[in-house]
Amino acid sequence: MSQNNHHDKEEKKMYNKGEVITGLVLFAVIFAFPFWYNMGKAAPVPEPVLTEQAKAAKECIKPKALMKTDHMQILNDWRNSVARDRNRIYVNSSNKEFDMSLSNNCLDCHSNKAEFCDKCHTYASVSPYCWDCHIDKPKEK
């Protein structure tokens, strides 16, 4: 009983106060290292480069802003339509028809995959596996 009381009193005391605090501070600094080290050094958002052909076409299948945000969804719908139903023609809102083919159509205009696709994908740290099968076709110069 008396021993227990003795213990209770001791537990309120902090041992090695100096080391513990220093350790905690060090930990916090090291843990936050990537944040403060990179502060103010954010990589600029890349702009995808358009080929001459893409520039001349002026318009993609949908408005540019939508293509930026939704191209992955569109490609997903295209893939389902072609691979499952073999409906290969896409009709956009202005009744223009497009062959739903990543390699044979999209990349025909955007024949600069490195400058057009990869740039942003690398920046956003996404690695779509399209290219494992679909063929990138840089135009012969």
């Binding site: 997903n76 295209w78 389902n80 409906n87 896409y90 009709v91 099968c133 063929i135």
Partner: protein
């Protein structure tokens, strides 16, 4: 005191779980919507169509191994089929088989000499009741409206259930990345990646362009392709006027490839 704290924690925990589950459930709902959503799409103009595609192979016009080569070559070339030295990694869409392997249930010790040594051209039979379709857990292998047993490589998880289910060995598995083993890539057609199964697709990409399958085109009339459900079609005329056999019919798969022997 103790008790009420426990109750409070329980309620708080369940609420937190509920709150965090909501977005997850929403994401799933969205995914399913995405699959069902139909975009404004149409088939190509001039695409060849049928109720059920089928093929008749006239072996009287294909008596030697040499005669089969052009068909095998053109198919494998246009579809970016890799050539592996290692037999166990072999990928084949269409190949040559001896009678006793192609038709084991028809083989016997006194079989006709010509037939015994005849090289048979074999490929996926695009079975009417295809066991591979039933076996595939992801619907990567599925039946299309025109009877073609197709593969959606995006969905294949490489489990190879379909290979176990197909009684004809029509399917091959990509144990390795196929790209380095393709001599000359046909840039109009995709390749596959490591870990997926592949097989003959009855040249559906060509049918959609209004073209006959490549092997049929290269066969000098030995292969005939057409609609099995149209009594006027050339395949039906051939089936009417010639005795034909199919592979392993007793299994009930309903092969759509017929052989005139």
């Amino acid at each position: 005191m103790e008790n009420s704290r426990r109750t409070f924690l329980k309620i708080a925990g369940i609420s937190a779980l509920g709150l965090s589950a909501k977005p997850v459930l929403d994401a799933f709902a969205l995914d399913i919507d995405m699959l069902n959503k139909k975009i404004n799409a149409a088939p190509k103009n001039g695409a060849l169509t049928a109720k059920r595609w089928g093929m008749v192979i006239d072996t009287r016009k294909l008596e030697t191994e040499e005669a089969l080569k052009p068909m095998i070559e053109v198919c494998h070339k246009i579809h970016n089929v890799p050539v592996h030295e290692n037999k166990r990694h072999e990928i084949k869409w269409i190949w040559e088989e001896g009678f006793k392997h192609a038709f084991p249930d028809l083989e016997h010790e006194y079989v006709n000499e010509r037939v015994e040594h005849l090289p048979f051209l074999v490929l996926c039979n695009h079975c009417k009741d295809a066991p591979c379709v039933r076996a595939c857990p992801t619907k990567a292998t599925f039946k299309q409206a025109d009877g073609i047993v197709a593969m959606d490589f995006h969905r294949c998880i490489g489990c190879r259930f379909c290979m176990a289910a197909c009684p004809y060995g029509s399917r091959s598995f990509n144990f390795r990345d196929p790209r380095p083993f393709i001599a000359e890539i046909n840039k109009k057609y995709p390749t596959r990646m490591r870990g997926v199964v592949e097989k003959c697709n009855f040249c559906s990409e060509r049918l959609d362009e209004g073209l006959q399958p490549a092997c049929v085109e290269a066969s000098n009339g030995a292969l005939v392709f057409g609609d099995l459900e149209n009594p006027e079609s050339e395949v039906r005329q051939l089936l009417k006027t010639n005795y034909t056999i199919r592979r392993k019919v007793a299994l009930g798969t309903g092969p759509s490839v017929y052989y005139i022997v």
